[in-house]
């Protein structure tokens, strides 16, 4: 079966992130039989094993089996990392948690929160021929019907990712003289790109990657820290599910950096792809368009719950556009109304420049897809990268085209993508600086914009991954 993970992750080999363990913990039950020890084992032509007892009798030996379920506990030498990730984070897992909640005593129940990404919502909207607002409201209705307590939109946590990225760029641009590795700054929201960078280019590229957390992981902080406090719960009492357009986000959620040691809980417990939510709807026998729309939940009372909001700058979050416009204003006092993109060798590689009196003040680019990431990284290595900031995404055409989005076999994929892009773009864009609730959270939850809290909850670190050189890792 072709791997559902992005091209970048397929090439880097997931098994190096979730390594095979040397010892299998599965105990094999051996029935003790009467009689003294030594027996011979004969191997038949068909590969089956027969034990020949001392009295000449034979007994067919059972094969020791290690099933997928056995391997959920350990990182798995038999099962591959991919299989572990996909089964540990699946809609079946969510159903198990919801069922357990129904049976459990109130003190044992977990608060189930689902955070939906705008890209997944757009994909579902296209499939069910609904507008984004109705899709959001009906999805909320569906999740609550099956036992979920709150349904949030990751566009809210994206405000923080964008603001932190903007601030980080301006700080690094100003500090260029002191630090050779300050620029270019590379976007960090795409886990396919991050894992590829950690594995392949290690210590060389990592200093260039923005430390701002992705919207998924900011939501992890919001739900398991801020929201948990509000609900008077410890983080392990919340089961946080996100709905994302790709499988790579499952790997992101399982990063040790996003595991809360104190409470032994992940910031994001389970990532479901858009396709998995679709399957969940089918299995529950629910037709999304037929549901009554429910009011939208929001993380803070100040925020509008009438309709979902989004950001300008394309379907992958708008990092380039936000960092560019903010930098133009902060560094040069220039207000940029519309950002003009110039396509280069292919449509997934485009650049943007800010010029004044013939001088180039800012030179930014977006590089989507593995081949463009390759070229960018090689240019960086040779010191020939002319950009100050690059929005890097592993999937050609960006997140709206992620590997977990819904396919339509009866429609040309290009036409479907354009439809999804249109639906995504229909949602009202909001500037992160003006979004209700954001500033209050910086003040009251994070104790300021450059505080230690903000650094801990809104930023992360990267680690160069050594290539596994043991024979166990090679798949012939």
């Amino acid at each position: 079966m072709a791997s559902p993970f992005s091209g970048a992750l397929q090439l880097t080999d997931l098994d190096d992130f979730i390594g095979p363990s040397q010892e299998c913990i599965k105990p094999v039950k051996v029935e003790k039989r009467a009689g003294s020890g030594v027996a011979k084992i004969r191997i038949e032509d068909d590969g089956s094993y027969f034990q020949i007892n001392q009295d000449g009798g034979t007994r067919r030996l059972e094969k020791a089996k290690v099933s997928l379920n056995d391997c959920l506990a350990c990182s798995g030498c038999i099962t591959s990392a991919e299989t572990v990730l996909i089964t540990q984070q699946s809609h079946e897992e969510l159903k198990k948690v919801l069922d357990a909640n129904k049976m459990a005593a109130p003190s044992q129940q977990r608060l189930v929160v689902v955070s939906v990404s705008p890209q997944s919502r757009a994909s579902l909207a296209a499939r069910f021929q609904l507008n984004p607002t109705d899709t959001a409201r009906k999805l909320t209705s569906f999740f609550k019907k099956i036992g979920v307590h709150f349904v949030f939109d990751t566009a809210f946590s994206r405000h923080f990712s964008l603001l932190e990225s903007q601030r980080e760029f301006v700080r690094r641009f100003r500090g260029q003289a002191d630090c050779r590795q300050a620029l270019p700054l590379l976007a960090s929201a795409c886990p396919g790109w991050i894992c590829y960078a950690e594995k392949t280019h290690g210590s060389f590229i990592l200093p260039h990657i923005s430390t701002a957390r992705s919207p998924q992981q900011v939501m992890g902080s919001l739900v398991k820290d801020f929201f948990a406090q509000q609900q008077h719960l410890t983080p392990d009492k919340i089961y946080h599910v996100t709905v994302m357009p790709c499988y790579d986000k499952k790997l992101e959620a399982s990063r040790p950096d996003f595991f809360n040691q104190e409470h032994q809980t992940r910031d994001v417990d389970c990532v479901l792809t858009t396709g998995e939510v679709f399957r969940l709807l089918e299995e529950e026998g629910v037709s999304l368009p037929d549901l009554e729309p429910a009011p939208l939940d929001s993380l803070c009372s100040g925020a509008s719950a009438e309709e979902p909001t989004s950001h300008r700058g394309g379907g992958s979050g708008g990092y380039l556009e936000h960092v560019f416009r903010h930098a133009a204003r902060e560094l040069f006092g220039i207000h940029v109304a519309e950002v003009t993109y110039k396509p280069l060798r292919n449509k997934d590689f485009q650049e943007v420049t800010l010029e004044k009196e013939g001088q180039v003040l800012l030179h930014f680019a977006m590089a989507y897809g593995f081949r463009n990431i390759q070229n960018l990284v090689q240019r960086l290595k040779r010191g020939r990268c002319p950009y100050h900031y690059v929005e890097v995404m592993a999937c050609p055409s960006g997140c709206l085209n992620g590997g977990g989005q819904l396919q339509a076999p009866d429609r040309p994929s290009r036409e479907l993508l354009q439809h999804v892009e249109r639906l995504y773009g229909m949602v009202r864009a909001e500037a992160p600086e003006d979004a209700p609730g954001v500033q209050e959270l910086y003040t009251h939850w994070l104790q300021g914009t450059d505080s230690e809290c903000a650094g801990r909850l809104l930023h992360t670190q990267y680690h160069a991954v050594e290539k596994a050189s043991t024979g166990l890792g090679i798949r012939w």
Partner: protein, 274 residues
Amino acid sequence: MKDSLVLLGRVPAHPDSRCWFLAWNPAGTLLASCGGDRRIRIWGTEGDSWICKSVLSEGHQRTVRKVAWSPCGNYLASASFDATTCIWKKNQDDFECVTTLEGHENEVKSVAWAPSGNLLATCSRDKSVWVWEVDEEDEYECVSVLNSHTQDVKHVVWHPSQELLASASYDDTVKLYREEEDDWVCCATLEGHESTVWSLAFDPSGQRLASCSDDRTVRIWRQYLPGNEQAHLHQAHSQDVNCVAWNPKEPGLLASCSDDGEVAFWKYQRPEGL
């Protein structure tokens, strides 16, 4: 009189290791060899004997598996188990490494220049085929990364006149690729071999592709374009035609049978020129 092979000369090209591959330059004046000693040697004649004209070392950290001359003869590409491909530029008798193509995850098994000289393809044990483009300033950029094969890719070869690329793999298939809009796509998969396909070669006209395999067969492939029907029999039978069978010994003898209970025998003659 029986044909004979007369030995002209023998040289210790890659001492204490294996010589993996040879390539004559387009002009036929030089032979490049590469091997397990991580070096590439260029051989030419001096009078009656073959001598080593230059040694290209310092390019690779591991075995050099294949070398390929560019169509113009001024460049040599070398594919190595160290996961890189070096491009060497010829300057009279000297060769200088002008760039190293990185990106493959592990051993590069083959490299090939497109007939235009602007494109290069590499393939690797990492199951991928990469297409590179070179510009006027000798800058190389990756144009596409193709992940169609499910196992180690052993060989890549370009069509002699079209921008069509073929690859052979441990997954028992041959795949063909062409450019569509702004990316390369796999446009065909040739199945039939029962084991690793080791190598490929197009005939000079480009109409036929030969593949050889660990299954001890050589297969010849030909492209059939839509509308390639060569003959059409209307009303061959009065009802459904159930079966057709070519006679194994007599060329052109065809039998067909039908729901009408009849068996018909046909003689097929190929039109002139095919």
